[in-house]
Symmetry: C2
Subunit: 265 residues, 2 copies
Amino acid sequence: MDPGRVKSVSALFSNMHIFLLPSEYNGQPSITLGSEKSHYLTHVLRLKPGNSFKGQDRRGNLYSLKIVSVSRQSLVLECKEKEEHRNKNLPEITLYQCICKGKKMDRIIRQATEIGVTSIIPVISEYTIPRMDKKNARNKIDRWRRIVMEAVQQSASSVVTEITSPVSLADLEKTVDGNRINLFFHQIPLETRSLHEYLSGYPSSISLVIGPEGGLSERETELLHEKGFSPVFLRTNILRAETAAVYGLGTVQTILMEREFWEKT
Amino acid sequence: MDPGRVKSVSALFSNMHIFLLPSEYNGQPSITLGSEKSHYLTHVLRLKPGNSFKGQDRRGNLYSLKIVSVSRQSLVLECKEKEEHRNKNLPEITLYQCICKGKKMDRIIRQATEIGVTSIIPVISEYTIPRMDKKNARNKIDRWRRIVMEAVQQSASSVVTEITSPVSLADLEKTVDGNRINLFFHQIPLETRSLHEYLSGYPSSISLVIGPEGGLSERETELLHEKGFSPVFLRTNILRAETAAVYGLGTVQTILMEREFWEKT
């Protein structure tokens, strides 16, 4: 391996990035790492006793880590918890997800939670297939809440995603707020603004509407317009609802996270 | 609705965008649209007989469309096929997907095909759980090919995704080609280059490695480095393999598609 590259990786790593603590780590003041991670830190990243870098546990808490000692097969790290919050600069993302059938909706909720959306609002739209009577709505919401809690834990998300009761698309409130961007993905292009253009500036929150399996009706598209939502046309194929949700959330999150690398000043 | 906005949407629509032809359209020289689409074109977008705009059928073919006549409940469009191909400027995307268990791998393959990747290479990695003996490998590949064909049709993808036999991660060839970008997503940050930085310039093709459920081992990470793959650290939570694949592909595709809107000149 090119030693120049390794050195710069190591410097960048210790200044800017986050080491993921093992899943058994639970807030102790120090931890002993086994041979694989130890080799990695000392041989691949060339870190030495005394070097400090940032770490994170599986619940999203941040730590300042310092290598205390290195032996042949292990390494001891000192761990000091930090106040700072990992995603604190990321705008809040709300997913308005038109309800899809059973397992599909479950998967979208699980994946949106993994990605770290702030809230999920299940939406009843014209082409929503599952019937939502009172009793079955209660069961569904209970199941969705359990899925959210599992996904928060598995993904070490620092955001505990909120999931609300279903609302009807017609009942969405009109929000006019300069710091809020409201978007919906649509197959028929209605505007030429790109996602990068919508997300430039510093929106404090983003709302994203994703249609159900049958898509949004043209009447709903007009209604969303009237309520202050702008259409985004992604130049891709016709995506099923569950693909569109993850595709859209991933894209929005990465564009926001990497703002410093693309925003024209 | 604000008439100024409607007019500009209509102008932009007719010059720059694509109308999705109904699923029953099959290459005929003209098509009669029903009342909903007709209302949409004439009342929402304010188009008139004689106006032309671009269209696309469900198989990804492009058409020049012209409104011939409008009646109360319907509208006749003249359709002339174009040579031009919709995604012709998009670099080829190859997904190296470490094999996941049954349904998860099926879903990743379906979703990657929907998104329009050029090829999918199933990869056997250290933490790959499913056993791949010869007979069961053949069955798996046959099933994956069927899933690909279904997804190409459903998504109207203009790319007929190719899927190869599984390869071992250790056997990946080292590619050194200035026009090719090879990336892998990794939870532990090893580099500070953002996805926007990697994708600036005009790569002719992108390869993307996504780990299996258990992630890539540190040895594999080193191996990928040696073979010319660069790590990308997405500042998100710990994603499961199937979320990471769609998240990564969506992000890469959108950043490439929107290059003109962010690339610093």
